[in-house]
């Protein structure tokens, strides 16, 4: 899968040196990257540091991005490679030996506490339940976009409605979800 239409917008603008586009891309993908890196490192601090390093690298290397994969896939690979490099450094630090084999055994650290999730786990279910309560047209347009990655053109064709309607339904869903999240104190206003 190559870069999608949404990504292309950012890629072309960033390649042209548009810093606002770069910032928008960071805002868009930061939650997803953070989530992946927190899952990977089990440390919010480490994930934040890696996230920052990743986007710096993205800015530096964007010209080498050929669009063979989705933009986030490329960003994710950069982030994971940085995480692996970190691991490699720590490995060399922590692998001093050890006469005894038992001392060579490294257990996985405790699973990360729920507080560090981007959206608390108990709130995730509430949000997903709320999405189910959206009216059918709004929910379908939103799901086709977010869960299936369909373009507005494709959604318009599937739902047999104008693109403008798709656009407003998807926005409406996002707006209602944000209102719900604010009301439930999941995010600040």
């Amino acid at each position: 899968m190559g870069a999608n239409k949404g990504d292309e917008v950012f890629i072309n603008e960033i390649k042209a040196g548009n810093q606002a586009a770069f910032e928008a891309m960071v805002l868009k993908y930061q939650p997803k990257l953070m989530s992946s890196l927190v899952g990977y490192t089990k440390s919010v601090d480490q994930a934040e540091e890696l996230c920052q390093k990743t986007f710096i690298k993205v800015w530096q290397k964007i010209h080498s991005f050929r669009g063979d994969s989705a933009l986030f896939t490329w960003i994710y690979r950069i982030g994971i490679n940085l995480a692996k490099n970190d691991f490699a450094s720590s490995f060399s630090k922590h692998s001093k030996v050890t006469g005894s084999l038992d001392q060579n055994e490294h257990d996985v650290p405790e699973y990360v506490s729920p507080e560090i999730q981007l959206i608390a786990a108990q709130s995730e279910d509430k949000i997903m339940e709320f999405i189910q309560t959206l009216d059918s047209d709004t929910k379908t347009a939103f799901t086709l976009r977010e869960a299936e990655g369909r373009t507005y053109d494709e959604i318009a064709e599937i739902l047999s409605c104008p693109i403008g309607t798709v656009r407003s339904r998807i926005f409406r869903a996002r707006q209602l979800i944000l209102e719900f999240m604010t009301k439930e104190n999941i995010i600040n206003e």
């Binding site: 805002l27 055994e105 996985v108 977010e146 507005y152 707006q175």
Partner: protein, 230 residues
């Protein structure tokens, strides 16, 4: 304001013309609240996509299912990412015995004092880590290749709920089989909390991965049996 936010939503989806993009980016640049909203769209996307992937992922579905059956083994999945960054080769085994090979471990230990050897070791680990990613995060079916009945440890039988899961009532075990061996010449195994991952290179060039809450004492006869029957 709603019109601006609707445009922001379309900008987020990359569904604007070039002129509209510039206009949208300019508005975002001038209004921190719009930046914040754009970021919140990202939070929603992350959540919905992750939750949707979970539903369609066999592995993650198993995690949910297993947490009810066996909370210990479910940790294997929740700790999967940890495995990737913290697993260290513990032991290697000779083909004909499945016991701790102290000598090879000590060789490993001394090898990592050499920069070149350390680099080689880390590269090898990277391949293994990729394999772990594949196993833990792939939503592909693990049944694409048939698991030989001869590989199933004595006392284990297939779960009625899941053809990939084997259980002896106390411990659970999953198999994953594929055509690459990652340069692994001998059985290697890894520990993550109370779960274990065994990488077993087969003579026909495939790699059998067994994972579950089975300690080496239980896996030992299984691996010996696999090698006897090869």
């Amino acid at each position: 304001m709603n019109k601006d936010l609707e445009q922001l939503s379309a900008l987020y989806d990359g569904e604007l013309s070039r002129e509209e993009i510039h206009e949208g980016l300019k508005k975002m640049n001038e209004d921190p609240r719009m930046k914040e909203t754009f970021h919140k769209f990202g939070l929603i996307s992350e959540l919905v996509q992750r939750k949707t992937q979970k539903k369609s992922s066999t592995v993650l579905f198993l995690k949910d299912h297993l947490s009810k059956v066996n909370p210990i083994i479910s940790n294997l999945f929740t700790a999967a990412a940890s495995v990737l960054i913290t697993l260290i080769i513990l032991y290697q085994f000779d083909d004909d015995r499945f016991q701790v090979n102290r000598e090879s471990s000590l060789q490993l230990s001394s090898a990592i004092s050499s920069e070149e050897a350390k680099s080689q070791l880390l590269n090898a680990d990277q391949n293994i880590m990729e394999h772990m990613i594949h196993i833990m995060q792939s939503s592909d079916s693990h049944t694409s290749q048939k698991i030989s009945k001869n590989w199933i440890p004595v006392g284990f039988s297939v779960s009625p709920n899941n053809p990939n899961q084997y259980s002896n009532g106390r411990n659970n075990l999953f198999f994953h089989l594929e055509n690459k061996q990652l340069g692994i010449k001998k059985v290697e195994y890894f520990r993550a909390n109370n779960n274990w991952i065994y990488l077993i290179p087969l003579q026909d060039g495939r790699l059998l991965t067994a994972y579950g809450d089975i300690p080496p004492s239980v896996a030992d006869p299984m691996i010996q049996s696999i090698y006897k029957r090869k």
